[in-house]
Symmetry: C2
Subunit: 153 residues, 2 copies
Amino acid sequence: MGQPHTQDTVHSYRVETRIEGPKKATVETRGLEIVVDAPEKGGGTNEGPNPVEYVLGSLAGCVNVVGTMVAREMALDLEIHTIVVEGDIDVRRFTGTETDERAGYREIRVTIGIETDADSEAVGEWSRLLEERNPVLDTLRSPTPVHLAVSTD
Amino acid sequence: MGQPHTQDTVHSYRVETRIEGPKKATVETRGLEIVVDAPEKGGGTNEGPNPVEYVLGSLAGCVNVVGTMVAREMALDLEIHTIVVEGDIDVRRFTGTETDERAGYREIRVTIGIETDADSEAVGEWSRLLEERNPVLDTLRSPTPVHLAVSTD
């Protein structure tokens, strides 16, 4: 759709969604499921994290993938043992209250706990490459074009 | 951590991560789990979607939540029956190949299938509010500050 795949290096991803309630949706990709929901006090059935929690989970998973890959490439003795991701949203735009605040995360903080024998220079280079080559981090940090189409067929 | 919660309208979200392999991580939030993995040919165990698929799933879930909420507020007879989200990534930066391409999604496309008796003007206004008030869409479309800290304790 739109993007011709003239290069093998361009990978396309796709999800389809089964709506199961005002807050609950089961999203499918490659036969795998993502259950998105909300807590009961938010009008959901609490069967899965909410959409904005999945954003943080996606970033945590990507930090693991890229961090582990880069450590191997650098032949570092470095192991990630914890990744905590936190973020803050002013919900006024979401709830329809008049505000100048943005709708999305105003800040996301990632804390990576590692064990390593590498020196601080090597860890610094590892951290730099982990940021630079991280698809989810870049998707969040840089503007990403999102196009919506509504179909009534 | 950092953001004082001086306003009730600022909500903070947090996930913690259990690393289970070079591609697999179980991310926990509020007792709920997000299993991030990769296909076997990508070095994973295929027990969950990959990080960039979760980005699309998160957006699909948020389109459902905001779309349903806005339709109710507008008292529209409008039902979302499908949400498809697709996106393309040039993987060269991720894999460490020299490139000017960005690491993240270069484009994301959302197709929303609806059933409605509303006229096209009302549907247009619904669609406009769905974009404007969507926390995940705004997190992707606008630059979001992401801060990394590496701890070796």
